[in-house]
């Protein structure tokens, strides 16, 4: 029998070693797996490389993880926001390495990782600072830049519902990077609002098939059961 559900967020964090590369879902706070990030902070892994669209908002979630100074490097498209003061402080103090990647490349490099693509050429960023010193090629008369996959040791993502096989559905624009990150990590850990009976999710509506998912946890459900 396949059962990917784990009963606690602590259990969901097992095996995350120092030096891991972790893909963290979310666009701003929509789709950010807050409970999993809190559990990662408690778990204590350090020297991490984080891949996420933003570099934290306010003082919770990814920002709280950055505050622990256990993140060596962040790969993201849009670190600077009005509420990214935690990252801004670390960056200006030279305490975190930053790789800025155009958002489409960020998504496609993870898609490539998940799909077994060794590298790809894309016009995005040609002639800009972000493609400086990269291999380029003219394809069909257009300049392209060579881009390599981004693979995660782990992905931490948020979905709406899962079943015990790990099939996932998401909610509105909180879907964002979840499906692509799920494919790109060796171990994908999903925080959901609800774990439903196998067979409940409409197969036509499943967004992430369970083959891409290793662990599922429903933190809110656990919290409700404990009270």
């Amino acid at each position: 029998m396949i059962n990917k559900t784990v009963t606690t967020v602590e259990e969901a964090m097992s095996g995350i070693a120092d030096g891991s590369t972790i893909l963290v879902g979310g666009f701003g706070t929509a789709g950010m797996p807050f409970h999993l990030i809190d559990a990662l902070i408690a778990q204590g892994a350090k020297d991490l490389t984080i891949v996420s669209n933003n570099a934290g908002n306010g003082d919770t979630g990814l920002a709280a993880l950055l505050k622990t100074k256990r993140v060596r490097k962040i790969i993201c498209s849009f670190p600077r926001q009005t509420d990214s003061w935690v990252f801004d402080g670390l960056y200006r103090a030279g305490q975190i390495e930053l790789e800025v990647v155009p958002q489409g490349n960020l998504a496609e490099r993870m898609r490539a990782a998940g799909a077994g693509i060794g590298a790809f050429f894309c016009p995005t960023g040609y002639g800009t600072l972000l493609a400086a010193e990269r291999e380029t090629r003219v394809i069909a008369g257009r300049n392209h830049v060579l881009e390599y996959p981004i693979t995660g040791d782990f992905a931490l993502i948020k979905a709406l519902k899962a079943d015990r096989w790990g099939n996932l559905v998401y909610r509105k624009t909180a879907r964002n990077f979840g499906p692509v990150m799920a494919t790109a990590a060796k171990t994908t850990i999903v925080e959901v609002d609800e774990i439903v009976e196998l067979g409940t999710l409409d197969p036509e509506g499943v967004v992430t098939p369970g083959i891409f998912v290793q662990r599922v946890v429903a933190p809110k459900h656990l919290a409700a059961r404990a009270t």
Partner: protein
Amino acid sequence: MQRMNRELMAARVAADIPDGSYVNLGIGLPTLVANALPGDLEVILHTENGLLGMGPAPEKGKEDWDLINAGKQAVTALPGAAYFHHADSFAMMRGGHLDICVLGAFQVSEKGDLANWHTGAADAIPAVGGAMDLAIGAKKTWVMMEHVTKEGQHKLVRNCTYPLTGMACVSRIYTDIAVIDVTTNGFIAIELVPGLELAELATLTGAAITDGRNRKTV
């Protein structure tokens, strides 16, 4: 001259968006175009964080923070809307499926180079988001911006001095005083606000600009 305010600029851009277009509006000034689109048109707005068919902001108190735009503001989804993940969303841009994107800019060169993501200041934290993908991916990339900076510096220039977002990607510029096509022959003014002469527009433009007002363009 009758300089246009932001709402009039938005209305001017909106007037050129054909019925049935798929459009991405950049953060900042271009966002205003959404409010200026005539209600009888079906123009489908794309937001890169995973929604086609984006509607206006919800009433205060009815925000759903799982339903936001690229600027992370609460929005709504219109009947017929679709949600999708980031790789699909950027396939829509990079695969040339979007008809038009409207972006703000620091500078546009006479070759259509766009600078809108980074001031290049030594202490600035670089953040690009989807700007580079949008600039080169949409079928048409339009820029909407003030014609000169607050300090009177040129924004339409021979060569961008700010770091580039994309090369030779802008086809049209809507400013507060003119509409300009960017062609292989450089800037061509196709519309000037009342009271503005081409000679004055030329002094406000940092590269050669020719008169295209008799030229029919789309």
